[in-house]
């Protein structure tokens, strides 16, 4: 089970530049769907990658779904070499994304965010129209129902 509060608290506590996307962002906008992980887009600067690594290190990140025992090391070098990481930790699952389809990197997405209070922390969260646009762009069949719900939320909010 994912401890949303711990994961968000860890990122905010380490002053990581990130924004919330995915199912947790959908919940912020009123979605009734259950999400099981935290999805964030992080800034790719060297300093921010160091903060991201430090924030999650105590929670022992490992590649989600990968066999145990791989020589995976959660380090700045690993994050610099890669981009998007689907992780499991001691406090639950988190996807840390350098960019997302249809939205790009942190800097492009940051212009399309709202500030919200998440578990007592001020965080940036993707706005509803952009969340819909990125989910549509991803084009995954499993997202179709989520997009329909988000569009319904947008209609109900008018």
């Amino acid at each position: 089970m994912t401890d949303f509060e711990q994961l968000i608290g860890a990122l905010v506590g380490a002053e990581v530049e990130f924004l919330v996307v995915g199912g947790l962002a959908a919940t912020v906008h009123g979605s009734a769907r259950l999400t099981q992980d935290v999805d964030v887009v992080y800034a790719r600067s060297e300093a921010n990658i160091a903060r991201l690594v430090a924030a999650l290190r105590p929670h022992k990140p490992y590649l989600r779904g990968a066999p145990a025992g791989l020589p995976f090391e959660w380090s700045t070098a690993t994050v610099q070499r890669g981009l998007n990481f689907t992780l499991t930790t001691r406090v639950g699952d988190i996807d840390v994304l350098g960019e997302i389809v249809g939205g790009g990197p942190y800097e492009a997405l940051a212009k399309h965010t709202i500030e919200v209070d998440l578990f007592g922390h001020a965080c940036r969260c993707l706005d509803l129209p952009t969340l819909i646009a990125t989910k549509r762009a991803a084009g995954r069949p499993r997202d179709l129902e989520a997009v329909a719900e988000l569009e319904a939320l947008q209609e109900e909010s008018v």
Binding site: L24, T27, L34, D127, A133, L144
Partner: protein, 60 residues
């Protein structure tokens, strides 16, 4: 990337017919903190259901 409202997609429109809008309206009346609390409660319920399912499988 655009964040303007997209054109309607017939597949998405078909999915929309099954959306429970009363639930969404209820959620929209809630604060973000209340929505997050609901998510956590729902997650705990799902976890408990999973545990119960495992117990049933182990103890036929």
């Amino acid at each position: 990337m655009t964040s303007d409202r997209a054109e309607s997609d017939p597949v998405i429109e078909a999915f929309k017919k099954d959306i429970d809008r009363t639930l969404l309206r209820e959620n929209l009346r809630r604060s973000v903190a209340e929505r997050l609390a609901n998510l956590v409660a729902l997650q705990e319920l799902a976890e408990e259901a999973r545990r119960a399912g495992k117990r049933v499988v182990r103890e036929p």
